[in-house]
Every structure is written in C-alpha cells, then in structure tokens.
C-alpha cells in the first residue's frame, strides 16, 4: 500500500509521519525561498541587490520603497546643497544618490486599479456564478448539460488565445484601458469556473431546506437567501479565492488592454526597472506590497480554500 493512502485505512506509523513531515518542510522551504528573496531584496540598496556573491546579511534600507512610491530627478550636488534640510526619510535617502523627489509615482493608482478590478470582477463572477449554479442545480433548465458543457468549453483554451479579437472589440466599444472593460473580461473568464465549482457545492445542499422554507412562508428568493446561501458560504469563499487569484495575477490581458488610467499593478511593476537604472529593490518592494492583499485574503479564508480544493467532497 502506498504511503498516500495508508492513513485512510490505518493510523500512520511514527516513521511515515516523520518522512511526511520532512517532505512537507522541505517543500515549504523550497516554495518560500523566492518569496523570502523578494522580501529581502525589497529592503536592500541597489548596489547590495546586485552584489556578487549575493548578500544574505545586509544593512536594511527603505530605498526600494522610496523609489517605488516616488519619481525622482537627478540634480547637481550644488543644487541639492542649496536646498533646505531634507523633509523626510525618503528625501534624505534619494539625496544621497544626487536625486530629488519630483512627485509620487503611479504605483498607488495602479495598485488601486488592481484592487478595484480584481475584487470587482471576483464579486461579479461569484454573484453570477452562484445564481446560475443554483439555477442549474435546482431547476429543469432546457439543454442544461449542453449549456454547462458550453460554459466549461470556454476554458478549453488559454484566454489569451482570443486576445486579438478582444483587443479589436474593446477598441471598437471604447472599453480599452477602462476598469469596466477589465472587470467584464475577468468576470467572463472566471464565471465558468464559478458556475462549475458552485454547482458542486449547491448540489450537495439538500433541496429540502428551501422546500421547508417555502412551506414555512418564504418566497424562493428568500428561501435561497436564508437557507441556501448560508450553507454555501464555504463554496462561495473558495470560489472567490480562486477567482481573485486569477484576476489579481493576470498579466497578459492587462498588459495588452491597459496602458494608462486603468493599468493594473502586474504590467506596471516591470516598468519600474526602466526608471533610472535597474532598480531591483523598487521592483521587489512593489511585488511585496502586491502580494499582501492575496496573502491576507487567503489566510482569512484558508479553511474554506482547503475545503474548496476537495471540491465540496467534505462538507460541514
């Protein structure tokens, strides 16, 4: 019997537990190294970030974060000396490199765009997905199987395969470089996943609950809201995470369809490199901050995520 199924039959032996523990720890370490590297780099100075051999121990600096949030111009030392005393930590840091702060960078608006587009599209996908999944699960929908297959078939190819038609359509419709356009696009991509995931969860909720509520004097919508939805929270949370992760990380469409006002963080972060040399600490800082919302969301919903991965096989 293989190690992976042994636990379902008998309790694992101390030895197999130990081996499993070692494998898990090793895998966790390997997975976390790039993240730690990015996190460490974000606190290095630019020379430290490209030092060889790489510096494990270094003097932490906020230069990366200062550079991330600001745009700077190079000035002569005479000009800098003629200025008054530095107004803050960042001001002081950049002056050491013969620069002055010219203004805020685009990182904050791009990050806000990402938040709006990712959460907006997640909400839409989950909202539409829940309602359609409920419909497919509970009503006799004509051609239900074909419709579900059609919905699934939208994921048979990578979304980017339709990039050119979408690019042309969006240009015609005036949706290029708009938050609405990106929300619609990510919703369309995610809604198929949402319908399929949620249908599994809703199928598992016995319909007696709604029937009981409808007999007890509630309309179908009220019954749905008060009895189905509370029991589907696990599925909804898991689905929301999957949708959010996709929308948050999506790069190709964002790079193609957004360039200005609606640009999201993923296509923006690489552009930091070009501003004044190879500014790795600033890129690392942007990436670190970019990771935070997903990290928080995932930690908050980690239990549901775990159940979501088992596709509703374990409920309650």
């Amino acid at each position: 019997m293989s190690l992976t199924t042994a636990h379902s039959v008998v309790a694992p032996s101390a030895n197999s537990k130990r081996i499993a523990g070692v494998i898990i720890v090793a895998y966790a370490l390997i997975s976390i190294v790039p993240l730690l590297w990015i996190f460490a780099t974000s606190f290095k100075t630019p020379p430290d970030s490209i030092a060889y051999p790489p510096k494990i121990v270094f003097q932490p600096s906020l230069e990366g974060y200062c550079n991330l949030f600001t745009t700077r111009t190079r000035q002569t030392p005479e000009y800098i000396n003629s200025l008054g005393p530095a107004t803050g930590l960042c001001d002081e840091t950049v002056r050491k490199r013969n620069m002055v702060i010219a203004g805020p960078s685009n990182f904050v608006p791009r990050f806000v765009n990402s938040l709006i587009i990712a959460f907006g599209s997640t909400f839409c996908a989950v909202f539409l997905g829940t309602l359609s999944a409920y419909g497919f699960s509970r009503f006799k929908v004509p051609l239900a199987d074909d419709l579900l297959f059609f919905i699934l078939s939208t994921r048979f190819m990578p979304p980017i395969a339709v990039a050119i038609p979408i690019y042309l359509m969006y240009r015609e419709l005036g949706l290029s470089d708009t938050a609405l356009g990106m929300i619609l696009l990510y919703t369309a991509v995610n809604v198929s996943l949402a319908v399929w995931l949620l249908k599994g969860f809703i199928d598992e909720i016995p319909r007696e609950y709604e029937e009981a509520a409808m007999i007890d004097g509630y309309t179908r919508l009220q019954a749905f809201w008060r009895t189905v939805l509370p029991q589907a929270t696990t599925g909804i949370a898991a689905t929301a995470i999957f949708c959010l992760i996709f929308a948050w990380n999506e790069y190709a469409f964002a790079a193609l369809l957004t360039s200005g006002t609606a640009q999201t963080a993923p296509p923006f972060i690489p552009t930091i490199i070009g501003e004044g040399g190879q500014d790795w600490p600033a890129v690392a800082a942007g990436t670190t901050i970019f990771l935070v919302p997903i990290l928080v969301f995932t930690i908050l919903l980690r239990k549901q995520l775990l159940r979501g991965i088992t596709f509703g096989a374990v409920r309650k």
Binding site: P206, E208, Y209, E211, A212, A213, M214, I215, D216, G217, Y218, T219, Q222, R226, T227, P230, Q231, K316
Partner: protein, 366 residues
Amino acid sequence: MAEIRVQNLRKAFGAFVAVQDSNFVVEDGEFFVMLGPSGCGKTTTLRMIAGLELPTGGKILLGGEDVTMRRARERDIAFVFQLFALYPHMNVRKNIGFPLLAQGMPSAELRSRVEETAKLLRIDHLLDKSVSGLAGGDRQRVALGRAIVRRPKCFLMDEPLGTLDTEFRDLMVHELRELHNRIHATTVYVTHDQMEAMSMADKIAVMNHGVIEQFGTPREIYDRPATMFVADFIGSPPMNFLKFGGGLAKGAKEIVVQGAKVAVPEVREDVAPADMALGIRPEHIRFDDGSKLRGAIYGTEYLGTTQIVAVETADGIIKARVPAGIHLSPGEQVGLTLSSARLSLFEKGSGRAVRTAMHDQEARHG
C-alpha cells in the same frame, strides 16, 4: 385545522405515471397514513398536497378551498421532512421560530410561542443549542416544533422516523400519536413501515404503482384487504394464499382447496370461473389432525409467546402463527384447520377481493 379533500389527483413525469386518479378525504383532526413500498407515489401525493409539486390533473381542497395550483407558502401547511431539514446555521430557537419570522410576528410574541412549543415537545432545555449537535430524536422534535409552532391547517410528514434507530422509532411513534391526541391536527403521514402505519393511523391508504389499493381504518385494512397486494403488504408474516379454481355463486359457503372442503364467509356476488386465491392470515390457521387440508412442517421460528411455523403444502409453503408451547418437528405431517369467518377470497387475475359476508360489517360501520 382543516379537512383535506383529494379529487382525481394525477401526476405524470413524462411517460411515467407516479400517481393515478387518487381520491380520498382526510377528515378534520384525523391522522391519515399513506402506506406503500418505495416508488408507489405516496411521497409524490404528499408533495402535491404541500405544493412542492404541481399535479398533472385533479384537485386538492384544503378546508374547502381549492389550492391545487397555489404556491406552497400560500397553503398554510407544515411539512416534516425525512431528513428533518433543520437549518444547520441556526440554533434550535431560530429553527423553530423561522416560520413565524416569515409572518413578521413581533419578537416578544414569537419568543413566547417558540418557548410554548418547545415545552410541549419537552425540548425547552435545548433552545439555545446548535442543531448539529442534537441526537436523532431531538432533531425530530425540533422538526416537529417548527411544524406545530405556526398552528397550520394541516401537517404533512414524509417518513419522519425513517432515519431513526428502531428503538427510538417506537418511542417516537408513541410520542407522535400522543402529540396528535393533544393537538388534534389533521395529519398526513407517509411511510413504508406498516407497524408505524398500523399503530398511529386513524385511516390508512395503501398505495402501489401510483394507485390507492385500499382506503380504510387499520382494522379494515388488516381484516378485509381489498386486494391481494394489500393482503400481502400488510401483516408480518403476510397473508397466505392458496389457489383454487372455478367460479363462485352468490350464497356459496364452501370452496374446495387441494381436494379439501373449506368453509368460507358467505359469498355475496357471482364470480365467473377463473383462477382464485384463498387468503389466510397466519394466526387463523390451527393444527388439527382431523383436517383434510394437510402439509408437512418445514421449519419454525420461535417468537416467545407464539411461533411462526412454515408448512409445506401441495401449493407451496404457508406460514402459521401458533402458540409457542406446541412442539413440532420438521417433516411432521399436520392437518390445517382455518378460521372460516376470517378468510378472504381473491380473484387472482385482478387481485380484487370477492365480496363476502365479512364485508357486511363494513356496511354496518358506515
């Protein structure tokens, strides 16, 4: 409370007919049981009364009002599901109060009604517990509480004891009947368990293949089964059948089975020659060496006060319920004496019972 009147009720799912032209009346305050094997249409009938399914034809009247096409929530009925359908995200109090919340009842009144109901069901100490931690019987009581709290026109119950342990089930059967005696609510109860039906019902409808085979009191159904299906379905062990041939004339008092003359209740109708069956309840067989109807002991099943004896006759095995004291050994030849007044006659082809003197009482009962 109200009377339920079902007229020519019919339900088809595509080509499959689940319920065929059902007719019955549940009187106000009556405990009515629909009994039958799974797939016989009893649950479908119940769901149509509840408004969870719409009938293909026929009418349902609740308290004289035609509700055939009304929505479930407009019918003022309560439904107890087999799986109880307690909302896992609410505690006991909220579960019981849920139907009252729909009515927009003021919270003080709602609270007192819920507590009153809980007291009636002896679950007032559980009100603030989560329903997921409750034992089967308590879940059942909460489900009942949610049904009775609203004081609806009638209660519909779909095998509510189906998931309980046998031990608990007996307890709940008594509790349910006791509850019914206290609140006199018109109740329609669906089950496949004849013991539940016999011990609780005022009236029983026995269903098979979407057809009501017989409608009557438990006594009528047991003593005078209207069809061979009912005779076979009710009783443990079920009724024995011995075949005999030839027609029956009105006024006949005797038939010939396996060469032996058997006295039967006086026949009240003429029956054209056909394959016939004599129906005998196991407890209506006595062993009597003088009898011409004979068989060999095949096996015995000791039950304490009685024993079930399988006897091999020329027409297969029949089962007799006799006192436990009689000692019998396999292979022994015995004569069988039948209690003439309690025998049923059936037409084998249609399964229909032949009218005999036994049915006279029915007429007298009204």
